[in-house]
């Protein structure tokens, strides 16, 4: 593995997008742009699977109705 740093070029449209993402002025210095790209890379590396929308189990079992179901059935049996 070669650990030398590499120089890359990103397109004009990508720069506009990058500036929007990090709220940078269009004429931001290249260091700021490269910092933005680096940040995106690290963010991407740490992407967690989007949190599952848990359906809240807000409804508690209706214990008295369940208990009546059991009692009524056993009474009938």
């Amino acid at each position: 593995m070669n650990y030398e740093s590499r120089r890359i070029t990103i397109s004009y449209l990508a720069v506009i997008e990058l500036c929007k993402i990090f709220d940078l002025p269009q004429d931001a210095p290249t260091q700021a742009l490269s910092a933005g790209v680096e940040k995106l890379i690290f963010q991407h590396g740490n992407v967690q699977p989007s949190p599952k929308v848990e359906t809240p189990q807000s409804t508690q079992p209706n214990k008295s109705a369940l208990s009546a179901m059991v009692t009524n059935f056993k009474g009938a049996a």
């Binding site: 409804t59 079992p61 209706n62 369940l66």
Partner: protein, 241 residues
């Protein structure tokens, strides 16, 4: 370890005592340890807290567990349980009492058998190589569950059975849904019912789910587990958990 469970059966009046005699008590079983492969012995003491009519757990779950159906004690709902060997129609009220029930023979297992027999009768070139082979309903089921509609896992001999599925399903579905319709209309339940609800593993079969939705059935998630979830609730109530 002590395990309290509730069970359900098509005919608890007839079978409850026998089931309880066989299930309740101390059971010892052995299995191989997944890593060391040594034999592990486990003992479990089973207590049966109740034996209810089939579907009783599903009713408990829908009305009072997850509360997916909102039903007053005086209102009715009609449940269709498509199991492996039967279609069971249950009319129940908002208190969870069973008002009427009707058993229709031939559940999803019957459909698998029909498809397996249709495959036996195929006479294309590949099938002629193995014409005396009896097709297995369980391999048909596997192809349906996997969504491949392919019989057998081998790509050389694996046969697609979409055509058989579609043809057998039509016959299987139409004869039974007609019996269902006859029962619910003759008993004057259909007009009085606030809900049609479907559960049991057969409910999630391809096309069946769409047919049911088309008729206005409420089809719940994980239909194969609803009865078990409700029986768990009834067990918890019985042991005061």
């Amino acid at each position: 370890m002590k395990l309290s469970i509730s069970l359900s059966n098509h005919n608890p009046e007839r079978w409850a005592d026998e089931i309880k005699r066989r299930v309740e008590g101390t059971h010892t079983f052995e299995h191989l340890h997944p890593v060391t492969r040594s034999i592990v012995t486990k003992t479990v003491e089973i207590v049966v807290t109740g034996i209810y009519p089939e579907g009783f757990g599903s009713i408990a779950h829908c009305l009072f567990g997850e509360a997916s159906l909102i039903l007053d004690p005086s209102e009715l709902a009609i449940a269709l349980d498509i199991g492996s060997s039967t279609w069971l129609v249950t009319v129940f009220n908002g208190s969870g009492a069973v008002i009427d029930r009707h058993l229709i023979e031939g559940g999803a297992g019957e459909l698998h058998t029909m498809i397996a027999e249709a495959l036996d009768k195929r006479n294309d070139r590949v099938s002629l190589l193995s014409k005396d082979v009896k097709h297995s309903p369980s391999l048909v089921n596997q192809g349906i569950i996997e969504g491949t509609f392919t019989y057998g896992g081998n790509h050389l001999t694996g046969k697609k059975f979409e055509a058989e599925y579609s043809q057998c399903l039509d016959e299987w579905w139409s004869t039974r849904i007609e019996k269902f319709a006859n029962f619910v209309t003759a008993g004057n339940y259909l007009d009085r019912a606030k809900y049609l609800v479907a559960w049991g593993g057969g409910v999630s079969l391809p096309v069946v789910d769409q047919n049911l939705a088309g008729f206005g059935f409420v089809v719940l998630n994980n239909p194969q587990f609803i009865n078990a979830l409700g029986l768990k609730l009834l067990t918890q109530i019985s042991i005061g958990a």
